[in-house]
């Protein structure tokens, strides 16, 4: 059984959003976009630790938009692939023929009251008294503010209890015997302590005075003793400690504590999860807190692989994000004055391209998923160049939450598909290369056609005589193509980066590389691309601002414009 879709209306950040979930799902989005609120919507319907009083609506739950406050909240959760007996049994006629069921919570602002519904389809709801299904289907939640000590204090008893219940007969007998021994040891201890001379003497004065006070104190003595400490008192005082190479050490820093807490939580949850009789969904906020990047990745796979139920994680970590294929990522974005999920959440539209791409995923900086705009470029020299250029033009990439990505090859198409699905704005610049078709005497506008196919336009006709990039600039083809493409954020080099740069800043570049004419300067830069580009950029950093209104700067300006709308 899994949560497959959530529909939020009028709830907190969400005016009207449909969000699709996959089996293991990651939720990402800027701070305050509403990740926790989405998870809270699930908790209202499914979290046992929220009481009936806790799920009563208050003023702040109703969505506020430009026209006013919403009068109603509606949270609908769709569950699919229900195969577990326990759930089928408890839900009876609410499970549809396709193994689906729907839960709905509605609240009214006028009365601050709520209602609960269940049904086999969205047009067939029946009101219910209470979340009666929680016994057999519910979620376990762990929030981002985690306090290991507090957790231990609360859960220690539970952990011990669970462990006790899972003992075998022999083990139980062994423990009972040992407990007996400990009890008698404690008695001995009590005795001995009370025999300590100074302990005994401590109360002498008091007793002398008492005898003076009243006759019936003649045979009466007060004394200090251990208060007959029992075994349970010792168990109560057990602390969680750590052990390295046989020596006891302090627990750990924040990161280690985070890991310990999550491991404990997972162990306890897995132990308590009676797979036969209940369905549990796991919801974890920001598991990556305080952890080193590799550890973050490991933690995410650990949670996904080890938790025996659908796992939903919210995160700010690129390391964790790379573990999820794009069809399992929900990206929440602001739209108008409300929050929506890009492409309505997990979308399978990218799935087919994904398989081809998966090996590149590790190369793709996962920070891309967290950006508000991406500029896709061909390779490392472009990356270097544009990073310097944006600084020179006064575009603060971090402030704007923009990233420059090198696709390092030609598969712009798949990157774009992912970015479109995640509704992340992008611009790109690719080389205007010309290639010969093998085995024939034909040449094609490779670069131009690559771009045209991205916007669904027909490719340019082939030439039967060889031609160059410069030819396309001269005969107007380059301009024709650019006119079609630039508005969509796609930019073509006239020839390539080095040539275009030398063209726009010829004097300064020639001086910097010590060449007397354009051609040799271009050849020089193309000789050792990234290396020489870096050196060049250092030298001409003060001149880069002159490129502000040129062709090279256009994609950057376009991206900033797209991001701001």
């Amino acid at each position: 059984m899994k949560i497959s879709k959530v529909h939020l209306e009028g709830f907190r950040n969400f005016s009207n959003s449909i969000i699709n979930f996959n089996r293991n799902t990651l939720i990402i989005g800027a701070n305050d976009v509403g990740k926790s609120n989405l998870l809270h919507a699930l908790r209202i319907l499914l979290d046992k630790s929220l009481s009936e009083a806790d799920i009563e609506p208050n003023e702040l739950d109703f969505h506020i938009n430009s026209t006013g406050v919403s009068d109603e909240v509606s949270i609908t959760v769709e569950f699919s692939e229900i195969t577990e007996d326990a759930v089928i049994s408890v839900l009876k006629g609410s499970v549809g023929e396709d193994n689906e069921t729907f839960l709905r919570y509605t609240a009214e602002r006028s009365s601050l009251s709520y209602k609960l519904f269940i049904g086999p389809s969205v047009d067939n709801f029946q009101e219910i008294n209470s979340r009666f299904y929680l016994k057999h289907m519910h979620l376990k939640y762990i929030e981002s503010q985690r306090d290991l000590e507090k957790f231990i204090r609360k859960e220690k008893r539970q952990l011990l209890k669970i462990a006790q219940e899972s003992l075998s007969e022999d083990e139980r007998q062994e423990d009972d015997d040992l407990l007996g021994e400990i009890s008698s040891d404690l008695e001995n201890l009590n005795d001995k302590v009370s025999q300590l001379v100074y302990v005994d003497k401590a109360t002498n004065d008091v007793n002398d005075e008492l005898k003076k006070l009243a006759h019936h104190y003649a045979n009466y003595k007060v004394q200090l003793d251990t208060g007959a400490i029992q075994v349970n008192d010792f168990i109560e005082k057990l602390q969680l400690g750590a052990n390295t190479n046989g020596s006891n050490v302090m627990l750990g820093g924040d990161g280690r504590n985070n890991q310990i807490l999550l491991a404990l939580w997972k162990a306890k949850s897995a132990q308590e999860h009676d797979l036969e009789n209940e369905v549990i969904f796991y919801v974890i906020e920001e598991p990556e807190a305080h952890l080193h990047p590799h550890q973050q990745r490991k933690l995410a796979t650990y949670l996904i692989d080890e938790l025996p139920g659908q796992t939903i994680i919210s995160s700010h970590s690129p390391q964790i994000t790379v573990n999820f294929s794009p069809d399992s990522i929900i990206r929440l974005v602001h739209q108008d004055s409300s929050t929506v999920a890009a492409s309505e959440g997990c979308s399978s539209c990218i799935e087919s391209g994904w398989e081809d791409m998966s090996y590149r995923m590790s190369i793709l900086p996962a920070e891309a998923f967290f950006s508000d705009g991406i500029f896709l470029v061909e390779g490392p020299s472009e990356m270097l160049f544009y990073q310097s250029l944006s600084k020179a033009l006064g575009i603060d990439l971090d402030f704007e939450n923009l990233s420059i990505l090198s696709v390092d090859g030609i598969s712009f198409k798949v990157f774009i598909a992912i970015l479109d699905a995640l509704q992340i704005p992008w611009t790109m610049r690719t080389d205007n290369d010309i290639s010969k078709i093998s085995g024939k005497n034909e040449w094609q506008h490779a670069g131009i056609n690559r771009c045209l196919s991205l916007i669904g336009e027909d490719p340019f006709d082939r030439g039967y005589a060889e031609f160059s990039s410069q030819d396309t600039v001269d005969n107007g083809d380059w301009q024709t193509a650019s006119d079609l493409l630039n508005d969509k954020g796609i930019f073509l080099s006239k020839v390539d980066l080095e040539t275009d740069l030398v063209e726009e800043l010829s004097d300064e570049v020639q001086t910097a590389v010590g060449k007397s004419d354009s051609d040799s300067a271009i050849k020089y830069l193309q000789g050792k691309k990234a290396l020489r580009m870096r050196k060049l950029l250092k030298s001409i950093s003060r001149d880069l601002h002159k490129l502000n209104s040129g062709e090279l700067a256009k994609p950057l300006h376009k991206l900033v414009e797209m991001r701001r709308t």
């Binding site: 007996d85 326990a86 089928i88 049994s89 009876k92 006629g93 008294n129």
Partner: protein, 536 residues
Amino acid sequence: MTTFNPTPQQQAAIDCEDSIVITACPGSGKTTVMKEKIRGVTPNLPSHKGVIAITFTKKASGELKKRCKENAHDTKLSFFGTIDSFCLKELILPFLGRIWDGKPSDCKIVKKLDSHQQLYLSGKYNSPTCDELSSDAGFKALYDAGILWMSSFAALSLFILSNSVSARRYIRARYSHVFIDEYQDSSQAQHELFIKIKELGLIATAVGDIDQSIYQFRGSQPEFLLALTKDKANFQHFELDLNHRCHPSIVNYASRVLDAAYKLIVHDDDIYVFRRLIRGNLKNAAEHISPWIDDWIEKNTITYASDIAILAKKEISLREFSKGLTHNYRLYIDTPLNDIGTECADVFSDLLSYKFGAVATAQDVIEKYFFQLPERNMPDLRKQLKAIRSETTLEDFIDKSNGLLELIGFDDFEKENNAVRLIWSQDTLIKLFKPIALDEVQLMTLHKSKGLEFKIVFHLDMEEWSFPHRIPGDNWDDVNYPSLAEDTNLHYVGITRAELCCILIRTSLRRNAQGNYGNSRPSYFLGLPQLEGLYQ
């Protein structure tokens, strides 16, 4: 509580883990065996599962449920009820809407089709089978018109199971076993439903006694129980043929009524089956018998008068008899509400029972009828019920009850209100809603005595034309007993209700169909040769 020491016969049936059919004679402890099996199965079930335990009457299910839950035994999500109740709650209400659209919970449930509703159907059915339901579009038409006919529940349920994947999945997910008692009274639709549930994978147990099949006039057929015993591949057959209740002489007499060649049980002591011819009519008979009852109670032969039963084929015999009875008695007859037969009337009956004490708690009433209402209405509901209980005037009682009935969804209860007025005016009728008093002799028809037991039984109607039912033939010598098989079983049931002693009463005067008294002749049952020597 006495500890239960099962006989080897009983233990074998209890221990068997597969599907079984138990044929059990009266007093053989079959209900106990069923209870023990249920108690044996339920501990191993996860908390979301249970067993289906079906009995013939609501009273019997209540009994079985109570006994299964004794000592805080957890029966988990088990269902205890009649087959119609099971069909309605577990299949029709949740799943019929899937197949026929609409909302089953909005439908009105009727016990009998009135003439207008009858017109929807193209045939006259006693208890329709699933095939009949599929081929007569009138059933769906009835449903679309908002009517659900109780007699069609079993067929509807089978129809639902055959057509809805989620219904099948649900039954399999929730229930591990199905138990049905009184299987000899199953109709074809109910039998087919039982088989279908077994085919879903549940372990099935059917319990019955062919010799106690007394509802053939309602469409029940003992052949189905017989068919199960012959289906060796699917059901193991266990026989419980030791009658622990009745004195051996009673067992002998009763068994010989059924089977002339029955091998008698040997016993040392006296015979406790008596035949008596009493001068006069039934009222006189009661006058004659009353001192015997007083005497027994005084001498402590019998502790409570309620241990004595007067059984007859016809209710009218009991009424006449009661006129001469000096002792306190309770006459179990159909009340005017029973005669109406609607669900509304049933609820009203239970409200009366709650008022006068036969139903002890408000919770019982709520669980039966108000289980579909939201939790928040419960406290208000309880208050209303308690108010009804304390109402002493008839009209106020009716008013408040009407309020409650409206809550469940009834809107037309003039007929039922009148029935209540009638009942209120007659002590004998009110008594039926009071808790059982130990000093009341029990008067009931043979049908109603099924499943019960008493220390002493008086069996009336032992006159020709009274019992067995006889209709006139072409001439004097043409003897026609149209329901002899069923009447024989009824006679058998009546005699085997007695633990200590059974007294068969023939009155010298008999009232005929026109209401006139004439001399009576002995019943056919008194003339059976194989019974000679078995009575005093």
